[in-house]
């Protein structure tokens, strides 16, 4: 379980996230919805252990992350995957991209050996790489150069890249906001596949319909904290908070 | 005191001649072991190097002692400066005034006269200043200045440049103006430059001979080798760097080198070195007559100078 307890974070004088608490369990999909600029990205980066919160604690399966030593924190960080709004693929083949997470987890001797093998031209991608590409429907693009992919394909590779090393948690930051409906559908299916594999998935999105489609629970981020966190159906059908209701019905315009 | 200095001179001559003997009799293994594998750094002028003389004669010395000679061709001013900084072991240059200053300041010891050739004043065959056949170098230069004929000066503080400045001074001319060009370059470039623009220049005979086939300049005032004025003589000297000032100087090897290059064998090699069928350098070190002035600054005498 990733547990954020009373987390606050600010950039300079601007309070971006204020006193936020959230639990994410393995095998569930949690959507964080809210308008742009409300701090969803900051929240996800805090969950990904990129940012140390100014106040509050972040715990992964009971371990307080920021109290741990740096190498322990690296081990904790490596149990989390993150997909960004932009695919941000490396300028290399699809296979090399998807392998990356596996590669950095190997020891240096093995990595160098593999590098030499790849220079010699004999690459034999790991089963996990093919499997992850299978999940996003791109197993046939293994040897293609990342730069030659379409935007939708690139984002799906980016998803596979985070899935390949079998993280416990997967954080998606506006993963489909630049995508067409078909690619959006394929990403959402991949989210279900990840959930079925026992991965806890967090999707930050400004698309309420997407949240309704994929999430088991929804957190509504308005202003600088959650107005409400609860099961998807209840949040959308019967929000208890007035601001949540207004946001969902589209009356609250940011 | 005079006696001691005298003995020093004799002693030095003995050292030199012993080293010379080594060459004649062939080196003994025990001697070679002392310096074998070492490197001698020689800073010298462009004229000795560029004529190919050093490359031609050095292999003999290198084989004899099992050593390497690193010859750095820099021009007289820079060669002495490198030695002054302790960056070379022995210097071979051609500007007696600068050599004397170097010795007086304690940097150089055991100077020997090595060889000589001469300078010539060269210019275009049309000879606009009309100096051809002049028996006086200074008069020729004065004429060049008077007629404002183009003149190329090395301008690089080399031995040749130093000689040129001395000649102007002796001619009573302070050269300047459009006709007088300091190019800050080596002898070969100066000759080419003068050739391109039909100018006069002062050259050492060796470099001129080695380049004569490629340029249209002709000798207008001869040096002493061909019966010209003595003032155009171009003597080369050699000195070891004083190990008392620079203890890293390879003094043993420097003295071996001086001994070798002033020996009859090496002096013969110098005199046999020819380019385009002409002798470039005339050996001066081997002589029946004593020549004490080669060991000390010119005009030095113990009465006037020491203590």
């Amino acid at each position: 379980m990733i547990r954020l307890s009373n987390v606050s974070h600010s950039y300079g004088v601007e309070q971006v996230v204020d006193d936020v608490s959230l639990d994410v369990e393995p095998g569930e999909v949690v959507a964080v919805i809210g308008p742009s600029g409300v701090g969803k990205t900051t929240l996800l980066r805090t969950m990904a252990l990129f940012l140390e919160p100014d106040a509050g604690t972040v715990a992964l399966d009971g371990d307080a992350v920021w109290d741990a030593a740096e190498d322990e924190r690296l081990a904790l960080r490596r149990r989390i995957g993150m997909v960004f709004q932009e695919a941000s693929l490396f300028d290399a083949s699809v296979a090399r991209n998807v392998e990356y997470g596996l590669r950095v987890r190997q020891d240096w001797r093995e990595r160098i050996r593999e590098q030499l093998r790849s220079l010699a031209g004999s690459t034999n991608p790991a089963a996990a790489v093919e499997d992850a590409l299978e999940v996003v429907g791109l197993a046939d693009k293994l040897d293609q150069q990342a730069r030659s992919l379409s935007g939708g394909e690139a984002q799906r590779v980016s998803f596979a890249r985070a899935l390949a090393y079998e993280p416990s948690y997967l954080l998606l930051d506006e993963p489909t906001s630049d995508l067409d409906p078909r690619n959006t559908g394929l990403i959402e299916e991949a989210v279900f596949e990840a959930r079925d594999r026992g991965i806890g998935v967090v999707v930050a999105t400004h698309d309420m319909h997407q949240a309704e489609r994929v999430a088991d629970r929804v957190g509504v981020l308005l202003g600088d904290g959650f107005t409400e966190v609860g099961p998807t159906e209840r949040i959308f059908d019967d929000p208890s908070d007035e601001r949540t209701r207004k946001f969902i019905s589209g009356e609250l315009v940011y | 005191m005079q006696r001691r200095k005298f003995l020093q001179g004799v002693g030095l001559a003995a050292v030199a001649s012993t080293a010379g003997c080594t060459q004649i009799t062939g080196s003994e293994s025990t001697e070679a072991a002392g310096v074998s594998g070492e490197t001698l750094t020689l800073t010298t002028t462009t004229s000795t190097y560029d004529t190919g003389l050093l490359d031609a004669i050095h292999s003999d010395f290198e084989e004899m002692y099992g050593v390497t000679v690193d010859a750095v061709a820099q021009g007289t001013g820079a060669a002495l400066e490198s030695a002054r900084n302790g960056d070379s072991d022995v210097v071979m240059v051609h500007a007696r005034g600068l050599e004397d200053e170097f010795m007086r300041n304690g940097y150089g010891i055991n100077r020997r006269d090595l060889m000589f050739n001469d300078f010539v004043i060269v210019g275009p065959t049309s000879d606009p200043a009309g100096i051809e056949g002049s028996s006086s170098a200074t008069e020729a230069l004065a004429t060049i200045a008077e007629t404002q004929s183009a003149f190329v000066s090395r301008g690089d503080n080399s031995g040749t440049h130093t000689k040129e400045k001395n000649l102007w001074e002796a001619a009573g001319v302070d050269p300047g103006g459009d006709w007088y060009q300091e190019i800050g370059a080596g002898m070969g470039e100066a000759l080419n430059n003068a050739n391109q623009q039909g100018a006069y220049t002062l050259s050492d005979r060796g470099t001129y001979i080695s380049q004569r086939s490629e340029i249209d300049l002709t000798i207008l005032v001869q040096g002493p080798i061909e019966g010209g004025p003595e003032i155009l003589a171009n003597p080369y000297g050699i000195m070891a760097v004083n190990p008392g000032v620079h203890d890293n100087a390879n003094y043993d090897l420097a003295m071996a080198y001086i001994g070798w290059i002033t020996s009859p064998g090496a002096q013969d090699a110098i005199s046999n070195y020819e380019m385009n069928g002409e002798q470039l350098f005339y050996p001066e070190a081997v002589s029946e007559e004593p020549n004490f002035q080669q060991y000390v600054p010119e005009g030095w005498s113990s009465d006037s100078d020491s203590e």
Partner: protein
């Protein structure tokens, strides 16, 4: 003069046997080692400058930019003072050696390599850095990713540094001394100082032959690096 007379010279080699190969060797030896050292120093500087803010960063940047235009003879003089018997490194006996030449070329090649690498490194999308980190990369992994992403720019930087080093004449002449042994094998003579020597003696034709050799080498090295970059990209 140049072309008609240079061609026969190529046929009847005017140099001693082994002379040209030995000066080519010295040129490459000195330049390659200096550029390798420069690159090893430049990349970490580029990474630190590209990723972090620190006081005096602007100053370091202007030092690097000034260094790009530093006259080589001035570098030569500074290195000469350092390695001369009277200088702080005098005890190491480096004057008139390849090592001294490597030092001066290192000083010359580092600023352009650093500046061009820095431009390439800062050109790498920040998202790519985030991605590497999010995928479990350590600081070193992220740095390696950035270097890989910037590889074309870095290759350009290395080539620029190599070009500056191998075609530089002022400083290597001063600190190297342009020495060959009596049998015509180069100790500290490079193609550039050999060209300078030929020109000093007015032998412009042979100077041009050596110039052609130098240009050929620079072209070859460029071609090899570009080719490596291409095949390297294929394998990724």
């Amino acid at each position: 003069m140049p072309i008609e007379s240079a061609v026969p010279l190529l046929l009847d080699n005017p140099f001693q046997r082994g002379y040209v190969p030995s000066i080519v060797y010295v040129s490459l030896y000195v330049s390659v080692i200096a550029v390798t050292l420069s690159t090893l120093v430049s990349l970490p500087i580029g990474l630190v400058m590209g990723f972090t803010q620190f006081p005096g960063k602007q100053f370091v940047k202007s030092v690097i930019n000034t260094g790009m235009g530093f006259p080589s003879v001035v570098v030569g003089l500074m290195v000469l003072f350092a390695v001369s018997n009277q200088g702080p490194l005098g005890a190491l006996d480096l004057i008139f050696t390849k090592q001294a030449m490597i030092i001066s070329q290192f000083v010359l090649a580092t600023p352009p390599i650093t500046a061009i690498s820095l431009a390439a490194i800062t050109g790498v999308d920040e998202n790519v850095r985030d991605a590497a980190r999010a995928l479990g990369g350590t600081r070193l992994d992220v740095a390696l990713v950035v270097i890989k992403e910037a590889r074309y720019g870095i290759a350009t930087a290395v080539l620029a540094g190599f070009g500056r080093a191998i075609s530089e004449v002022g400083s290597v002449l001063i600190v190297g001394g342009n020495i060959t042994s009596a049998d015509g094998i180069s100790k500290t003579r490079t193609l550039t100082t050999a060209i300078q020597l030929e020109a000093r003696q007015g032998r412009y034709e042979t100077a041009m032959v050596l110039g052609a050799v130098l240009v050929t080498i620079v072209l070859l090295v460029n071609a090899i690096v570009v080719r490596l970059g291409e095949t390297g990209a294929m394998n990724r």
